[in-house]
């Protein structure tokens, strides 16, 4: 019973904190640009509004068009529940849970792309093709980062991997994981969440035809994904296991805030890259993680 209440509490934290992050990013962007900008809680309002709206379905769409976002959202939230929250640990903890996490993210990608292709539109086709093609490189970078954490700490469970220090390669790992975060969450310089030119988009181009509750689910899932990657990145770099619970919780919250502000700063100061340069950047992220792996190999705890 106690564990059930704890799980529900955790779930509530994930679900309610997540939409705050895009709000922070937008505030940072508008602050730098000197605009007034949308309110911090804009995404919450959007989600509530979308949840009440009716749905327009494409005549080509099969039931998979609605099922895709639902499954993708569940996969994302389950993946989030696997991530330990600093001193509180994670809901379920077992050897190899990190592989489950990576593959749940892949399952979410499969469903998003599948739903996008339901409409038979070429814009959605473009977005999907880009998503799955660039994912090849991000997946390589992500698994290398995971491997370097695993080699560093000698553990294959998220709890063990993330509570210790990531060693001499921390800076490399942080840079690599930050690039992965930007790419996976479709932020500048890989993608521009604000653009209105469909030809240049990845994620937004995939969800053009969604409306109403399915769109709300997609937007919320995307914010959970951003929070998930921020937490992963923060915990990978900070040795939270060595701190007192209160300090660890504070450090985690602070680090997530720093990462989110960092995303906002990148978005304000950089332009989106041309698509042919995206693979180059992702390869760099992979190499950063690879060097972190080599450092972990030379130095980690035996």
């Amino acid at each position: 019973m106690k564990s059930l209440i704890e799980t529900v509490f955790r779930l509530v934290v994930w679900l309610f904190v997540a939409p705050l992050l895009p709000g922070i990013v937008n505030r940072v962007k508008s602050w730098i640009a000197g605009r007034k900008g949308p309110p911090l809680l804009q995404l919450y309002f959007d989600l509530a509004r979308l949840w009440k709206k009716g749905v327009v379905l494409s005549t080509f769409a099969s039931p998979g068009f609605v099922a895709g976002p639902a499954v993708a959202w569940v996969a994302m939230v389950c993946a989030a529940l696997l991530v330990p929250l600093g001193p509180a640990g994670s809901t379920i903890n077992f050897n190899g849970d990190v592989i489950l996490l990576v593959y749940l993210l892949a399952a979410a990608r499969f469903c998003t792309v599948w739903a996008a292709l339901e409409t038979g539109s070429s814009f959605e086709g473009m977005g999907s093709a880009r998503e799955v093609s660039y994912a090849v490189l991000t997946e390589a970078a992500l698994i290398t980062a995971v491997l370097s954490l695993s080699v560093q700490t000698g553990s294959v469970a998220l709890n063990g991997m993330l509570s210790q220090s990531s060693g001499p390669g921390a800076a490399l790992l942080a840079a690599g994981l930050f690039s992965v975060l930007l790419a996976e969450n479709c932020r500048v310089p890989f993608d521009d969440p604000n653009t209105h030119l469909e030809l240049t988009m990845i994620h937004e181009a995939m969800v053009l035809d969604h409306s109403g509750p399915p769109l709300a689910v997609i937007l919320h899932g995307a914010s959970v994904k951003l929070l998930l990657f921020s937490v992963l990145l923060s915990e990978a770099v900070l040795p939270l296991g060595g701190m007192s619970p209160l300090a660890a919780a504070g450090a985690l919250a602070g680090a997530v805030a720093v990462v989110t502000i960092g995303v906002g700063l990148v978005e304000s100061l950089l332009a989106r890259f041309a698509f042919r340069r995206v693979p180059l950047l992702l390869t760099t992220a992979f190499l950063l993680c690879l060097f972190a792996l080599l450092l972990a190999w030379k130095g980690g705890t035996q």
Binding site: S62, S121, E124, E139, L147, G154, A157
Partner: protein, 626 residues
């Protein structure tokens, strides 16, 4: 007649399946010796944990394929080739069963050859088409190259041990180099890169139930050979490294080529190369573990490889059945001519999608479980940080990249065929296949779901098979995390279903309006505007053009009123077309040159004779004077 055949086949496969299950759940091997000689050797059959795993898969796919063939390849349409197909189907299943059971090198070879030849006749069932005959020919030639290596392997083995009997002989260190011959022979059948040349065209041209048997079971016979003889015989220390290397190359190249295909069945065929590569990574890693005395993660790798044999057999058979259903209904397997089939064939679409998710290794289906075991083994090896990690760390990255590419491949395959709008007339009015074709598909999908959500139940079977491979690992316990994974996977599956139902009800409660695809304001989108499979894979095909060497046939539009512009791009089978064919042309040219010696003029023949005798005389003379 067909019904009698079906009843007999089903009876046989059910019996074989039951025998395999009994052998897997019991702790002792089944052995049968008879003094009756076949080919001068007494019969000796043996069913242990390892061969039982393969036998179970063989009998399942053999039985379901027989049911499927009733509707897919009936007498009414295909005439005599239907009855020929039934005979060779039985011959192939029986000979594969004999390969698995025989414990004598001579009988193994006989069964192997029967299996290869009956495979040839099954591939060329529709021999009226030129492409089919060519595919059959390439298969036969490649198969015999493999058999040649196996002849050498078994003959040398018999020569060194003094008997054709097979069995565990790890302690005889002088047998280790024979592993290379076995590797050559078995990897041709398994379809490992670069000796996979026969595989894509044979799978694409054979009738779909035959493709399913080939991809699901026949190529696994090569895997069986590798596992069997790396378990029974000693292997060179470098063998594990080589297998991990070959496996990685196969996994990456196989799936990259699959992504670039437009023919649905060719795509599935290349994907088999990838999956055999993944299995081989597991075998190689397990061999490394044996060499370094690392039972813990070695057993995980072997268990993962064996489970992936089953899993790939299940979902690939399902995918080929699905592709056959599409071909049966629309008459084409070119994806660029299909689209929007889900309306006409919802069962096929749903089951194909399920298999696609499974083959991408996504939770909560079976593909994830075997890949998870492999990852766990490789991570285990990496965290030990001995020299093996230099094999396992790259292998982890290879698995991840192959996983991402297979996701891309199967999103492409499923969506281009089943989603969107029909691209041509052929796809406009599809019909669902009947019970005999859908029933086997549902059964396979059920197996995928079951293994995916309750993998812990399978562990005793896997442990038994691993133990028959390496008796030293008899005391391996199930990883504790496997039961947690089972619960988690089942919970995730339940949550998926619940979320779909809830969102669907919410959408309907809010009100649904059907309209044209918005597409940012198109008023009349046509099916021709859709993204095609080729455009979907363009980013990766272009960046891998150095590997694919795509062939383009391009007609640009000209003039003020252009007519008939087109662009066709095809990714050829490069090893076959750029390496094997040119080099075989060279052989033929040399042979033609040598034929000039034979011209029918008697005086020259007498001269050859005299010359030959003289050389012999000189040789004898030199020997004598020594």
């Amino acid at each position: 007649m067909a019904q009698v055949w079906l009843a007999l086949t089903l009876g046989g496969t059910v019996a074989a399946f039951a025998a395999a299950l009994v052998a897997l759940l019991a702790s002792a091997d089944w052995e049968w010796r008879s003094s009756f000689p076949v080919g001068g050797e007494p019969l000796h059959l043996r069913l242990d944990g390892l061969s039982a795993m393969f036998l179970a898969l063989l009998s399942l796919v053999g039985g379901l394929g027989a049911i499927y063939a009733q509707e897919y390849w009936p007498e009414k349409i295909h005439g005599k080739s239907a009855s020929r197909g039934r005979i060779w189907w039985i011959a192939m299943i029986l000979s594969m069963g004999l390969v698995l059971l025989s414990s004598n090198g001579m009988h193994f070879l006989i069964a192997w050859e029967l299996f290869a030849v009956s495979g040839y006749f099954l591939v060329t069932l529709d021999g009226s088409r030129k492409g089919v005959r060519e595919a059959g020919w390439v298969y036969l030639a490649a198969s015999h190259f493999g058999t040649l290596c196996l002849f050498a392997f078994f003959a040398t083995l018999a020569g060194r041990t003094g008997s054709w009997e097979l069995g565990p002989m790890r302690e005889q260190a002088n047998l280790a180099p024979l592993f290379w011959l076995a590797l050559m022979g078995f990897s041709v059948k398994a379809g490992l890169f670069p000796v996979h040349v026969w595989l894509p065209s044979a799978h694409a041209c054979a009738p779909s139930h035959v493709s399913a048997l080939f991809s699901g079971v026949a190529i696994k016979m090569g895997v069986y050979g590798l596992i069997r003889f790396s378990g029974w015989l000693p292997v060179p220390p470098i063998a594990g490294w080589v297998l991990v290397g070959i496996g990685s190359v196969s996994a990456l190249f196989g799936i990259a080529f699959a992504f670039a295909q437009d023919d649905l069945k060719r795509l599935l065929a290349y994907c088999s190369v990838e999956n055999v590569g993944i299995i081989t990574i597991g075998i190689g890693g397990a061999l490394l573990a044996v060499g370094h005395g690392q039972a813990k993660w070695g057993a995980l790798l072997m268990a993962g490889a064996l489970l992936h044999v089953w899993n790939h057999g299940l979902f690939k058979t399902l995918l080929f059945f699905g592709a056959g259903s599409v071909l049966h209904s629309t008459g084409t397997k070119e994806m660029s001519r299909l689209g929007g089939l889900w309306r006409g064939m919802p069962w096929t679409a749903a089951l194909f999608t399920l298999a696609a998710v499974a083959i991408c290794g996504l939770p909560p289906l079976n593909g994830f479980v075997s890949e998870w075991l492999l990852y766990l083994g490789l991570f285990g090896s990496a965290t030990v940080r001995d020299s093996c990690s230099w094999a396992s760390m790259p292998a982890v990255v290879v698995l991840a990249v192959a996983g991402a590419l297979s996701l891309a491949t199967f999103v492409k395959a499923g969506s281009v065929v089943f989603l969107g709008a029909p691209r041509t007339k052929a796809a406009e009015d599809p019909h669902e296949s009947g019970m005999l074709m859908c029933g086997p598909m549902v059964a396979l999908a059920g197996c995928c779901l079951l293994i995916g959500s309750a993998p812990v139940l399978l562990w005793p079977i896997l442990a038994r098979a691993v133990c028959s491979w390496n008796p030293d690992w008899a005391a391996i316990e199930a990883p504790v995390s496997l039961s947690t994974l089972s619960i988690t996977a089942a919970a995730v599956a339940a949550l998926f279903v619940a979320a779909i139902i809830l969102l669907w009800r919410k959408v309907n409660a809010n009100g649904v309006r059907r309209a044209l695809t918005w597409d940012c304001g198109y008023s009349t989108p046509t099916p021709r505007m859709q993204y095609t499979g080729g455009s979907f894979s363009a980013i990766i095909v272009r960046s891998l053009a150095w590997l694919f060497l795509p062939e383009r046939d391009q007609h640009r539009p000209h003039g003020a009123f252009p007519v008939g512009a087109s662009r066709i791009e095809r990714v050829p089978e490069i090893v076959l077309e750029r390496v094997v064919k040119p080099s075989s042309r060279l052989v033929i040219r040399l042979a033609a040159k040598a034929r000039q010696l034979q011209h029918g003029r008697l005086q020259f023949y007498i001269m050859y004779l005299v010359g030959g005798l003289t050389i012999l005389a000189i040789l004898v003379f030199v020997e004598e004077t020594k």
